[in-house]
């Protein structure tokens, strides 16, 4: 082959390699960018007057005087809308012709308007909280307002056989009726109707979700994830570290040891969903650690899942302790156990901690093992003394739940993204700690 061609092939091979790295990095960026961009929206957003009202009613937050003044201002701005609605409703009752045209549609429209600016005092549509308040977030308000001001009309099928919808101003449909001015009013005065303000809502992390996550935060899920992770660690760390000590300090190369190692690597390879089924069949249905799903059963299952990781990390850390430390301790008359406890374990501690922290990240993010053993989609935060019997929410499971099984997945995207962001930040923070810890170990061992 031509030398020049060989060189070109050589460069192309390099190029393919670098392309692969770039694609991988791009995948990471593409994955994380929307999560960070939208996830922060759960914490920092333009909250409307409805948000402040809700926070005041529910959590007693905010300056009452200011809120009372704001309420009065809002009442004045909103009154024309309510008036127009009432007037039109009254006309509908008396005019059969009008009723035939708008009778079916108007109640829905009224509900949408109430969901935008909230119902007039004493006139909630149902007992659901989402019917007692208007749009709490400006971004949702804009979408809501758009669905009021505009209407989608069917225009048959498109060339692919899918239904074609065209947006048009709803005002055109109501032309000539007493309601017509309302659409223009809402469109013109949307900001005054809702008074959006930049809001920082850190309590998202601790507040209970209200009315199926339409309001409030993700407190119980955060708490549940913390419980499950700590529980798994409590269970897996002693077992894992002791197993590692045995493998390093006692075990030779016998057949039993190689069987033990095979078992550990098999355990590491068991699919996480199988752990979940095992947890259900063993911890709950056989030894009855709790009557049904509980934090305890979930922690045990997760602990089993991370056990191999902890064993391996500890084993590696223990093996990395210089033999010189052991020799020094023994030469001073320390017994084997004392040597392990006072010299080898402290020296291996950073390495073991790294393994533990990485396992914590894994336990926090796992979903499949807790579905049958611990996770529920609703409920309040679990009290510390209820962990043995009570199931819990958890970030990982609730992300799945609120983004697939929720009745209005589109309306609570900010909650979904907020949950995902919280989980990702939690896991990445744990991993970052591990990386920094590892860097410190490397530095210490080298100098």
């Amino acid at each position: 082959m031509h030398l020049r061609t060989r060189k070109i092939i050589d460069r192309s091979a390099t190029g393919i390699g670098i392309l692969a790295i770039v694609v991988m990095t791009a995948a990471l960026v593409v994955l994380l960018a929307p999560i960070f961009a939208n996830g922060t929206g759960a914490f920092v957003f333009r909250g409307t007057a409805e948000f402040r009202k809700y926070q005041s009613d529910r959590f007693d937050r905010g300056d009452r005087e200011v809120l009372t003044t704001e309420k009065e201002t809002l009442r004045q701005v909103r009154q024309p809308v309510y008036d127009l609605l009432h007037k039109f409703e009254h006309q509908l009752k008396n005019d059969d012709d009008l009723d035939a045209r708008f009778g079916a549609e108007f109640p829905k429209l009224k509900r949408e308007v109430y969901r935008l600016i909230g119902p007039p005092p004493g006139e909630a549509l149902s007992r659901l909280e989402r019917d007692e308040y208007g749009a709490t977030r400006w971004d949702r308000a804009l979408v809501q307002a758009d669905s009021i001001v505009h209407v989608q009309e069917d225009r048959g099928l498109d060339s692919h056989g899918f239904s074609l919808k065209v947006e048009g101003p709803r005002a055109a449909r109501y032309k000539g009726t007493s309601l017509e001015p309302m659409f223009g009013y809402v469109e013109m005065h949307l900001a005054e109707l809702l008074r959006p303000q930049w809001t920082f809502y850190p309590q998202f992390l601790i507040d209970n979700p209200q009315d199926a996550n339409f309001f409030g935060g993700i407190g119980p899920a955060v708490l549940g994830t913390i419980y499950l992770t700590l529980g798994a660690i409590l269970f897996a760390v002693p077992m894992g570290v002791i197993t590692a000590i045995y493998l390093v300090e006692y075990a030779g190369q016998g057949r039993f040891i190689s069987l033990l190692r095979t078992c550990i690597s098999t355990l590491a390879g068991v699919p996480s969903i199988v752990f979940g089924l095992f947890g259900l069949a063993f911890f709950i249905n056989t030894i009855h650690v709790s009557p049904s799903k509980s934090v305890l059963a979930g922690s045990l299952t997760l602990g089993l899942l991370i056990l191999p990781t902890i064993i391996r990390a500890s084993e590696e850390a223990l093996r990395a302790v210089p033999l010189a430390y052991k020799e020094a301790a023994l030469s001073l008359g320390a017994g084997q156990w004392r040597t392990i406890l006072t010299v080898i374990l402290p020296a291996a501690l950073p390495g073991i901690l790294t393994g533990i922290i990485i396992s914590m990240g894994r336990a926090a993010g796992e979903t499949a093992p807790i579905i049958f053993t611990a996770a529920v989609s609703v409920g309040l935060g679990v009290k510390p003394w209820e962990v043995f019997t009570s199931p819990t929410q958890a970030l990982s499971w609730n992300i799945y739940n609120v983004s697939t099984e929720h009745e209005a997945v589109d309306q609570i995207r900010h909650v979904q993204y907020g949950m995902v962001l919280t989980l990702v930040v939690l896991v990445l923070a744990l991993n970052l700690t591990a990386v920094l810890l590892r860097a410190r170990i490397t530095r210490r061992l080298s100098g």
Binding site: G252, P322, L323, A324, Y325, K326, E327, A328, A329, L330, S331, L332, G333, A334, G335, R338, T342, V343, P346, A347, R444
Partner: protein, 288 residues
Amino acid sequence: MASSAVAERPKKMTTSVPTTRPTSRSPETPQTPAVAGEVSHVAAEGFHVLYGGRPAVKSVTMNIPPGRVTAIIGPSGCGKSTFLRAINRMNDLIPGCTVQGRLALDGQDLYVPQLDVVALRRKVGMVFQKPNPFPKSIFDNVAYGPRIHGISSRTHLSEIVEQSLSRAGLWDEVKDRQHDNALRLSGGQQQRLCIARALAVDPEVLLMDEPASALDPRSTARVEELIDELSGQYTIIIVTHNMQQAARVSELTAFFYEGELIEFGPTKEIFTKPRQEKTEAYITGRFG
């Protein structure tokens, strides 16, 4: 010949220190006139160390007197370190390591099954080739030994630490930073710290396995000075590949070659008029 003699020898020996030498010896059997009349502190008799059946120390017989500095020299791989580590049973750590013959401290055979290794190691301190302080503070390093032997009173511990560091000649340098990490000390200081750590349990015998080989010349000189200061108080056995060092610090010198003890006697004699050809060849630099 020596090996057959060993093969017949039962593991357990009498507990008295032998006063006469066995007669069936190879021609290289060392004569030890310098120590003939003295009490021996560490006594080996037909002592073998085997690694997985392969002998690393062969039929060594020597009496190391108390309160002196004894140097063991020889080319690398001659078994001198193995012999040294047999004295506080550090070879126990190596899988497949077995011994034959007899090695005694104060007349007590060290390889009887009931031996309390912990008590032995407390009597026989050790300093290693590379400084190996624990990744703890200077204070905790020195206090490690006393602590495991049951001393917990803080004042008592700090007295021991101060005394040991002073004996190791390190007190003035570190007294204001006893709670710094020991790994921040220089190599020479670390080695003296290790000596202080060994002294803190107040041993009778101090084994030193090439204690200066990883140090720069100045630190080496400081450690040698220290050995000199300590002689008389402790029985010091130092393994070195550096003949000048052996000549400088020791009163007695033993020459090991290929696992066997070739010659053992006063340092002056070994270096000026060695009896064995091999010793002379090694000392004059013809091999090693």
